[in-house]
């Protein structure tokens, strides 16, 4: 979709018609085709069981595809053992070798490659400087905090300059503040070193923060591969709209379609104009998707003749510091969220009757949930 944005280069990694089943009955990955370009930071995002980790494990060589072929730098690697793939990997629980010091851990990939002692020393030192942990070189993993272990795992996966680095939910065990800090550090490393990263997470905000492109997985199928902003602004179906960012859903039926827009009759009465993204035609049922920050609340009685104006009843308001949320009952959806500036919510009381309004371009008509 956005391929024109990047200079066309041969893909570093190509998944071609990949299928994977563990039990011979259910496909965990169904027909995966995916190109990863050199220097790209691509995130495989999806709920647990969606096939994203299996995909990563097939790329790393710990699982064998049931069907299809994986190419790394144009070479088929389906039957290549993991240690020959030259792929660095950061594991969920870091997997630092507990019996080796930090220095020995980072030196491990170099020593198995028979790199000379002097060069190993220099590269390990540089890697430890990069993660600002030179002082802790002689410690053991057990003596480090989670964040420090994470950094060491990162240094160990990068020190041998692999052509590709895989990360399997590397920040899952860290607390929120540290996680956000590490996200920026990893992003920075990616940019300064120009490495290709395949990152697996179920945390959509993490994916949005770090990625060049995100592949949204569900049910063994890639739902959409796109840049973070495109994914958020132009989700191709209800799953992506709901999984990436906050989203309000309204059920309805398409009445008419006019070019890019359509008129949708809501199940609870009333009708709105929406962008026709994923609807088959007039008469089809659809799910409308509206982001909480694209909605305005109009106090009862104020006249406004927008195209999409729906009556709402205030259920609750939630103060969140930098913003506030109003929970409304709109057209049968009792958890309809509207993002507000703090202060605005003060005038809303539970039980108030108000109107919500949003532009037709911010309302997407997608496949029914």
């Amino acid at each position: 979709m956005e391929a024109g944005m990047v200079t066309p280069a041969p893909a570093l990694v190509r998944f071609s018609g990949i299928q994977k089943t563990y039990d011979g009955e259910h496909l965990v990955v169904k027909n995966l085709d995916l190109d990863i370009k050199k220097g790209e930071f691509i995130t495989l995002l999806g709920p647990s069981g969606s096939g994203k980790t299996t995909t990563l494990m097939m790329l790393a060589g710990f699982e064998v595809p049931t069907q299809g072929e994986i190419y790394l730098a144009e070479r088929p690697i389906k039957n290549m053992p993991p240690h020959k793939r030259d792929i660095g990997m950061v594991f969920q629980n870091y997997a630092l070798f507990p019996h080796l010091t930090i220095e020995e851990n980072v030196a491990f990939p170099l020593s198995v490659r028979k790199v000379s002692k002097a060069e190993t020393q220099a590269r390990v030192k540089a890697a430890l400087r990069m993660i600002k942990m030179e002082a802790l070189a002689q410690r053991r993993p057990g003596q480090l905090s989670g964040g420090q272990q994470q950094r060491v795992a990162l240094a160990r996966a990068l020190v041998f300059n692999p052509q590709l680095v895989l990360m399997d939910e590397p920040l899952g065990a860290l607390d929120k503040r540290l996680r956000e800090q590490m996200q920026l550090e990893i992003k920075q490393l990616h940019e300064t070193m120009g490495i290709t990263v395949v990152y697996v997470t179920h945390d959509q905000s993490e994916a949005l923060t770090m990625s060049d492109r995100i592949a949204v997985f569900n049910d063994g199928i890639v739902q959409q591969i796109d840049r973070p902003d495109a994914l958020y602004e132009h989700p191709v179906n209800s799953f992506v709209a709901n999984f990436v960012g906050e989203n309000n859903v309204l059920a309805g039926t398409v009445e008419t379609i006019e070019k890019d827009y359509c008129r949708v009759a809501l199940a609870a009465g009333g009708s709105v104009m929406a962008r026709a993204v994923n609807v088959s035609g007039a008469g089809a049922s659809t799910s409308l998707s509206v982001r909480p920050e694209r909605i305005a609340i109009i106090p009862d009685g104020t006249s406004s003749d927008g195209p999409n104006r729906l009556p709402a009843k205030v259920q609750n308001t939630i103060y969140l510091g930098d913003h506030a949320l109003a929970v409304l009952d709109v057209a049968g959806n009792a958890e309809f969220m509207v993002k507000l500036q703090p202060g605005v919510h003060d005038s809303l009381r539970p039980g108030d009757n108000v109107f919500v309004t949003f532009g037709p371009k911010d309302c997407l008509a997608l496949d029914p949930v």
């Binding site: 790393a60 060589g61 710990f62 053992p81 993991p82 240690h83 793939r85 030259d86 792929i87 660095g88 990997m89 594991f91 969920q92 629980n93 997997a95 630092l96 070798f97 507990p98 019996h99 080796l100 010091t101 020995e104 491990f108 990939p109 198995v112 490659r113 053991r140 160990r156 996966a157 041998f160 895989l166």
Partner: protein, 420 residues
Amino acid sequence: MTEALLTGANASTEVPLKRRLRRAERTRQVKALALVLPLLVFLLFTFAGPIAGMLWRAVDDREVRQALPQTVAALANWDGKDLPDEKAYAALAGDILAARASGTIAIAAKRLNYALNGFRTILTSTARNLKAVPEPGTAKETLGKINPAWRERTTWTTIKDAGGPVTGFYLLAALDLTRNVDGAIVAAPADQAIYRDVFGRTFLISLGVTALCLILGFPVAYLLATLPPGRSNLLMIFVLLPFWTSLLVRTCAWIVLLQSKGVVNDSLHWLGIIDEPLRLIYNRFGVCVAMTHVLLPFMILPLYSSMKAISPAYMRAAASLGAPPLTAFLRIYLPQTLPGIGAGGLLVFILALGYYITPALVGGAADQMISYFIALYTTETANWGLASALGAVLLLATILLALVYGKLVQGQQVTGGMKN
């Protein structure tokens, strides 16, 4: 001022706080003690007590002192260079007559015979032929006439050495050492010097069995730790199966299997591989096979528990970092199993050191381990001193080994498995 106030506040609260902590801890400690008390008492009576008794018996030497009290007293100041004076002879004559009357002469004779072969005859013949207390001044002559051995210095040094109340005689004997007539420690005569050999054999067999257990147990433990739970449980039952039958039954089963008309020999003969039956039992081979079989679970279980703690992610990480399987195993997996290898090895080795029934049943004369001799001296010849001394030496060697192992394990934790 603020500082003074702060320290003042600290000083005033610190003492009561400590006391309160102690009081709070005390209840907990009393409870803990009450829980372990029954076992503690049990161990004291059945373990610590008997071991202390055994160690004491290894140096206890009061038999001669009780049977010949005046002689021992008279020899106390004897320098051992020449024959003792008339007073000692008179004391001995008096002691022998008294001991004969009370029947303790045989006990002293037995003890003295350990130190000097033939002493039993000297003492009993003297007791038989000594009619009455010799006239004053003639004791030396009378005794020398009854048995010329009383004119030998060795006879008297033997009595003096055995005078107790404590002695190093048994411990020296357990190490094939003895004191010569001048009291210097020398090697025991060749026909009595067997214990170093037996200790060496005991350690060699134990070491061999430990190595066999490790070689056979390591792959099994690895399987146990890596198989899916269902199959791993089944395998575990097979590992523990030997514990469900008695040691005696298992050892006898090996006799059935390995004897010259046994299952193994018959099968090999039937297959045409051998013409003559192989000697598989009543030799070192049989001992090692039977002991390895019995001790294998003690190796597998510690190995299994150490392997179970190794996350499969480590091997994956090693592979992803470029290590071929063998390198990953040697540098990542094996070092992490070292505590298990150490624990299993020590357990098997120490258990093997004390093995008695198995070597006794399936071993030949040259395969009997130290426990056999301890049992022999305890139950057959009632030489408790030597039995205790052999036990003490074995205990000491075992403790030393355990200490060395402890040091090694400690060093392991400091330096890690990988050496540069």
